[in-house]
């Protein structure tokens, strides 16, 4: 399954980005193929309104099974993710991506 992270950098040691809509990067890890990919989301900084839904739309195209993030998406983005059937785990805002993945594996993250 593909797992997406909101992150401030592009490596396993990068800090998570607690925000969803305005996250700087998405990192996607496929635990079946061990593939790790990065997507830049920084162009969303220039968006006044609707950053959440737009980011959610991008995430949808990456087609992950679940998302690990910090604060959890706002109402609009949550709607999009729900329609897209992406499960959301929150509370990893202050961790590195690696720590966030391990916390998820140990069932330490809350489902949104």
């Amino acid at each position: 399954m593909k797992i997406a992270f909101t992150a401030k950098g592009t490596t396993w040691d990068s800090m998570m980005d607690p925000r969803f809509g305005r996250t700087e990067f998405f990192l996607v890890y496929d635990d079946e193929t061990d593939e790790f990919t990065q997507f830049d989301n920084r162009d969303v900084e220039g968006v006044a309104h609707g950053a959440g839904p737009q980011t959610a739309q991008k995430l949808f195209e990456l087609n992950p099974g679940l998302l690990i993030t910090g604060n959890g998406p706002g109402g609009n983005a949550a709607t999009v993710l729900e329609r897209a059937g992406i499960k959301i785990y929150i509370g990893a805002g202050e961790m590195t991506v690696k720590e966030a993945y391990e916390a998820y594996k140990k069932n330490e993250l809350k489902e949104f």
Binding site: P18, R19, E45, A48, H49, N71, G74
Partner: protein, 293 residues
């Protein structure tokens, strides 16, 4: 790094004076952001040096190239904002009415309409007298205070705080309950509500708190001029209890609020008496509540 936002709903409750005092008490460790971009006042108390200034563009406005316009009137017909009247036989877009939806440009048969990004103000990074830095802005007249300039001010403040390894960002939030406040609140760790015991103060406090609740952010409240109306102060106290909002402090009605402002000082610099004591204690409490959160 923690983000503390000060808001009030209603204007004139002393929000900016309280925020500036916190900024002063926070000293070098605290980056300041003035997100009240429509009527930014905090610079009057913190003596910024405007060391960096940049224009800010947001949204679009339609412009009709008269040489290519065949005066078919399609643009005016589709415009839901009545922003394209005929002036001296020419179709001319009124920038103050244009929403920047771009519909007119899409239906123009001769592609005579372009959308240009709109200069909606300026933003600044300044060194201030607290030994720290401040990000502030000035919205252009009649510009759409969409919250984007607010978001820009906040993001720049965050970057600075990160680079300086600051403990706190203190943000003077916008009034009202619309887009700019929404932008000031997003991502905050703690909200300080500054209110006054008047029927309007309480009314607006309740309205703006509804919004804070939507963001799920912990809040505390300072009642300014609490002795103006003991009954309403009591009512506010009950509201805070019911909503589980920390009651940080009560400030008395005191002319030093205005006197400090008149000489361009924060209250904690000017007043050596009770206001200074209460505000100093309040800032400690706010920090504590923010960290424990």
């Amino acid at each position: 790094m923690k983000e503390i936002v000060v808001i009030s709903g209603k204007g004139g409750t002393g929000k900016t004076s309280v925020t500036a005092s916190f900024a002063y008490l926070g000293g070098e460790e605290t980056v300041v952001a003035d997100c009240d971009v429509d009527a930014a006042d905090m610079h009057l108390l913190l003596q910024p040096d405007f060391s960096k200034a940049e224009d800010f563009y947001s949204g679009e406005v339609a412009i009709i190239n008269q040489d290519e316009c065949i005066k078919c009137g399609k643009c005016a017909e589709v415009c839901r904002f009545d922003a394209i009247p005929i002036i001296d036989t020419q179709y001319i877009v009124q920038p103050l009415d244009c929403e920047g939806c771009g519909y007119c440009a899409r239906v123009c048969p001769t592609n005579a309409i372009t959308n240009e990004s709109q200069n909606v103000g300026q933003w600044y990074i300044s060194n201030i007298k607290t030994g720290s830095v401040m990000v502030h802005a000035k919205l252009a007249i009649g510009a759409d205070n969409s919250g984007k300039l607010v978001a820009k001010v906040k993001n720049e403040a965050k970057l600075l705080a990160k680079n300086r390894n600051s403990d706190f960002i203190i943000i003077d939030g916008s009034p009202g309950v619309g887009c700019p406040v929404v932008s000031s609140l997003s991502g905050a760790n703690f909200v300080v509500l500054v209110t006054e015991p008047s029927v309007s103060g309480l009314h607006d406090l309740k309205r703006v708190y509804k919004l804070v609740k939507k963001f799920n952010i912990k809040a505390g409240c300072i009642i300014n001029k609490f002795d103006i109306n003991e009954n309403v102060t009591k009512e506010i106290g009950e509201f805070l209890k019911k909503e589980n909002i920390a009651h940080i402090s009560n400030l008395p009605y005191d002319d030093n609020f205005t006197k400090a402002m008149t000489v361009g000082q924060t209250i904690v610099e000017f007043d050596k008496g009770q206001l200074q004591t209460i505000l100093t204690e309040s800032w400690s409490k706010v920090k504590q509540l923010t960290i424990n959160n």
